[in-house]
Amino acid sequence: MHQQLLYLWLAESALDAEVVAWALYDGAKGKGQALPAAKGPDAPPYATALAALEDGWCLFQAPQAGTPVGPDGASLGELQFQFIFERRVAIAP
């Protein structure tokens, strides 16, 4: 089995929030199911993480709850709401 990993970064912690960044690491080297055609040159493959679940992706990792906000607001680092999904692809030897 070969693993496809899809990273989706969302605007909020809810899985039906909008996708703001994405990445695909394809261990099946293109032999598995392709991502759906994007709805524009800069559009993500899925509008939400829920849409990825509906397309057959399995949740692999969800983000921890965010750090508390301090008196000067939140400390901003990497994108906060990172969800990782997987699909497993059987490839004939």
Binding site: E12, V19, A23, L24, V69, L76
Partner: protein, 314 residues
């Protein structure tokens, strides 16, 4: 009115605070671009050799001064870098460039380092997204990085990828490498002589160059040697600088700095954008020296609670 020193306007400074970069298309005229490109080609091998020597921890001394122009050492005041007849020196002292530099880091900042980025035609690999800052100062002081393109870069021709609005996030240098696509990111393309000016923290990456044209870019990092307060053309500051009463949930002003700082990049969706806005307001406080400055009352509310502000009649 045009500033005789070509310094930036308040509106341009607010755009820099919000987006983390400014772009000036075809700023440098064509004869100078050609001369600068030739000088870059002559300097590139020496700069690469020294960097490889340093990063490789190699023993022994390096030859100096074998290029047609000597490369400056770190900490050199900018005005002493690349003396005449250097074409790169002429670019850096070009009035519009000098005005941009003065506005952001003062008239004579320290040379940090520079490098000549050459992506040959057909180069298949790009860089991962990264940030050059490596460490962030405790306050709001910042370096700038100039990206100068002496030749035209076509779309898909290896232009730098960057993420507007990412500069106030504190990330490890390559911790952000896995972001393959970010909504609103840009891939630079543009005419010869274009200058991009980045805040040190802006996320960026060199790109593959499948085109038939080599891509050349000169990158220079500068450190301020003075507080970065009101160094731009402040003629329009009073008109645009807003009071702490400028509040989206009460009475937002129009055509104010606050209005510009509220405008988020496409990836900065939803309420998370408020935290970005607070960071931008903090940077504007530093740049203006106005410690009461605020956008949407977040800091002001705290001051009211702490009893610092008396209740005022509007």
């Amino acid at each position: 009115m045009e500033d005789p020193r070509h310094r930036l306007s308040t509106a341009a400074m607010a755009a820099f605070v919000a987006d983390g970069f400014l772009r000036f298309d075809a700023l440098i005229p064509e004869p100078l671009n050609r001369a600068a490109l030739e000088e870059m080609k002559a300097l590139a091998p020496g700069k690469l050799r020294r960097t490889l020597h340093g990063l490789g921890g190699r023993a022994g001394r390096l030859d100096r001064g074998i290029e047609s122009q000597e490369s400056p050492e770190s900490l050199t005041p900018l005005e002493a870098c690349y003396p005449a007849p250097s074409a790169l020196g002429a670019v850096l002292r070009f009035p519009a460039v000098a005005g941009i530099i003065e506005s952001l880091v003062g008239a004579n900042p320290a040379f940090d380092h520079d490098f000549i980025h050459h992506i040959p035609a057909g180069a298949p690999r790009g860089q991962h997204l990264h940030v050059d800052a490596v460490l962030e100062p405790a306050g709001q002081a910042f370096d700038i990085q100039l990206f100068y393109f002496p030749t035209a870069v076509a779309p898909g021709g290896g232009g730098t990828r960057f993420v507007p609005g990412s500069h106030l996030r504190r990330a490890r240098a390559e911790g952000i490498a896995r972001y393959q696509h970010v909504l609103g990111e840009q891939h630079y393309s543009g005419p010869a002589g274009t200058l991009l000016v980045f805040h040190q923290g802006l996320w960026h990456a060199g790109q593959p160059n499948p085109s038939a044209e080599d891509r050349w870019m000169y990158k220079l990092r500068l450190n301020p040697r003075e507080p970065q307060q009101r160094l731009w053309n402040t003629a329009d500051l009073a008109a645009l600088h807003n009071s702490p009463r400028d509040h989206s949930f009460a009475y937002p002003g129009s055509d104010t700095v606050a209005q510009r700082l509220r405008r988020m990049a496409p990836w900065q969706r939803g309420h998370e954008g408020r935290y970005e806005q607070m960071q931008r307001a903090a940077l504007w406080r530093y740049l203006t020296g106005d410690l009461t400055y605020d956008v949407d009352f977040y800091q002001t509310r705290k001051r009211v609670r702490e009893g610092v502000l008396e209740e005022e009649q509007p």
